[in-house]
Amino acid sequence: MKKRFLALLVSFVLVVTLSAGCGSETTPANTSSGGTQDGSGSTSDDTVHFKEYTIAVPFPETGLTSFEIMRSNCDLLENATNGKIINAPSDLTPDGVLSFVESQIAAGVEGLIICPPSDSVLPTVTQLCEEAGVYWGIALRSISDPEIKSLVEASPYYVGNCYEDEEQAGYECGKWMGEQGYKKIAVISQAKGDTTCDTREVGLARACTEFGITIVGESRGHVQASDATAATESFLAANPDLDAIFYVGSAASGTHEATVKAIQDAGRGDDVKMVTIDFPDQMEANFESGIQVYAYALSCLTFDPYISLIKVINSIQGTPINEDGSPSSNTMSMFAIDNVKTAREYQTITGNPAYKFFDEEGVKQLLKLFNPDLDEVTLQKMIDEYKPI
């Protein structure tokens, strides 16, 4: 009896592990695409045929609206390009990124994009993808180390990257706070070693020196909204003259809202404000509370990885962005929101999981099989002209 029960229990644990371990595979959405389905299963627009492919993106279904927007746009891409784009978990650690790359290569993907927390993983990723013949790109990051950059860019399977000027983002936020007269701020950020946040903090430090702002406390590596609540409470208790809490970056869900609530619960909403890089999910409510006063980010966090994904798709189809196959590097401009009205307008994007970066015709312009004139320069022009509102 005991053995039978044990066998049942082990089976149950195995089934749960197997089902939980599967990445969330997508099925093509039932959206109409520009082309028609022919008998061979490829989408054809008269003469255009797309090779079947599978690409992995590191944006699991955490409930973050920006990830849901990415999913929605991937569904449209899948329909237009005869492909499958899967969301797979990848935490923002070097081990997490390598684990993601290895497991997706083992699963047989033709392409993937990564958001490396540091340059140190890139040589290994380059080697793994070259050996497996997998095209790959970088999103939300640039490569700082010149030696690693040369090594990576020499690989025929590296398609390029999209990035923002993170240092300038940190400086702009610091400058704005200085111009408001803030003298004491607390910082919430990722653990040291995260390239994006470290770069933003360099810009912030520059602004703090220029405007005489003192960072009175810091808290890093939050994994839950409750961590943000606890950190905010501690900052408020320790600093009766605190001017603002500045979010350099946070990977956990609901942290900005938790900070706003903690400030409200402490009755300090009139004198302690919140400034963020990246737009929170509940940005409109945060601005309406009067506590969030400034945000600096891309219109949507996942627009950058979307463009990196476009580059990988083009390379898989044999039509890389640059004719000679060299990697392309594109920058994205961030912008600021400092009032409720603009926050409300952008909430229609940041709060809408079904928001599309481009419609079906717009997507075709990003694919060289439809638009042979596409190259690094014209792609940059399209990015610069992209206005969500």
């Binding site: 939980a20 409930g63 040291k192 994994v223 501690s234 208790a237 903690a262």
Partner: protein, 324 residues
């Protein structure tokens, strides 16, 4: 009686001592920080109680964090569906599933508790993530403010008080509590006396699920949001409670009241953390100093016997020299 009172007061003075040190050296740290310290100590105390069910039996368990998150996720989803009853029921079911699983696996697979707990961490994390995606909007679950107010501060103090009373009763007033302590002291002797030690350990794991339930309720109500973590992310949640339990296991030699000592241990740790924040220290320095603090506390308490022996020998040598 007087000696006992002195001992109790002596132990309880420790958090006041730490508080006083930071009161004088950190600007912005004062009486107004006390509610924050108490509030932030509640969840680690509950997790500490869960770990304290198991560690005295000579076992190691890293899964309370994962079990607590599973309870919080299930409780949040059921709370959103059917209200406060769903929140309580879901948190209990989610927390106990992990307790039952780890108890059964350890009992019948006969592999080291650390290995079992690591396996359970992976399964529970994946299960939390999958349940959140299947039944919610994703791996983050949010509850409305009216539900969150059920177990946030200061009501979470009542939760912890209830958990401490349950822990005290089981540990000091029941046969199971005695057997758990005895298993940790001398398992071989207990076996030779005919006690089913495996059964005792099994029940210890099951018992820890009850305290994970308390932790789950407080976790989701603290900020109204809980996120499922993967890749052993929940293991970072058990380190503070573990430190509190390690401090408590030393303090309990002075005054034998484990739940009180765990609470004192957590208060000390949270006081230290808040003190560091008030001093404006960077995250790196905070972690270094906390690690050193823990080494000093553990080193002093583990070696008090040895130090007392050195002092005794020195006195004997002095007396011998005087006589000569």
């Amino acid at each position: 009686m007087k000696k006992k009172l002195t001992t109790v007061v002596g132990v309880c003075i420790l958090p006041f001592l730490v508080f006083t040190i930071f009161y004088f050296i950190a600007d912005g740290f004062g009486v107004h920080t006390i509610p924050i310290i108490i509030s932030q100590s509640m969840i680690p105390t509950a997790l500490g109680l869960a770990m304290a069910c198991i560690m005295p039996a000579g076992l190691m368990d890293f899964s309370p964090g994962a079990r607590m998150i599973l309870g919080a996720i299930v409780g949040g989803l059921m709370g959103n569906a059917i209200g406060i009853v769903g929140l309580i029921l879901g948190a209990f079911l989610g927390a106990m599933i992990g307790g039952v699983a780890i108890a059964l696996l350890y009992r019948y697979l006969r592999i080291p508790s650390m290995v079992v707990s690591l396996g359970v961490v992976l399964v529970m994390e994946a299960l939390s993530d999958r349940i959140g995606i299947l039944f919610g909007r994703g791996s983050t679950v949010q509850i409305p403010a009216n539900l969150a107010s059920f177990a946030n501060y200061p009501k979470n103090v009542l939760f912890v008080l209830t958990a401490c009373l349950i822990f005290y009763y089981v540990t000091y007033k029941t046969k199971l509590g005695c057997l758990i302590q005895a298993t940790g002291n001398d398992e071989f002797m207990l076996k030779s006396m005919g006690v089913n030690v495996d059964n005792v350990k099994f029940k210890a794991f099951m018992l820890s699920g009850i305290f994970c339930f308390f932790g789950a309720m407080m976790q989701i109500c603290y900020s109204g949001t809980v996120q499922a973590l993967t890749n052993m992310g929940t293991m970072t949640m058990v380190f503070k409670p573990m430190m509190g339990v390690l401090i408590a296991m030393q303090l309990v030699k002075v005054f034998d009241n484990m739940p009180l000592m765990i609470f004192i241990g957590q208060i000390v740790i949270q006081t230290v953390f808040n003190g560091f924040i008030a001093m404006g220290w960077t995250d790196n320095i905070q972690n270094i100093v906390l690690g050193v603090f823990l080494l000093v506390v553990m080193g002093v308490s583990e070696n008090t016997g040895r130090m007392a022996e050195v002092r005794r020998r020195r006195m004997v040598r002095k007396e011998t020299k005087v006589q000569v």
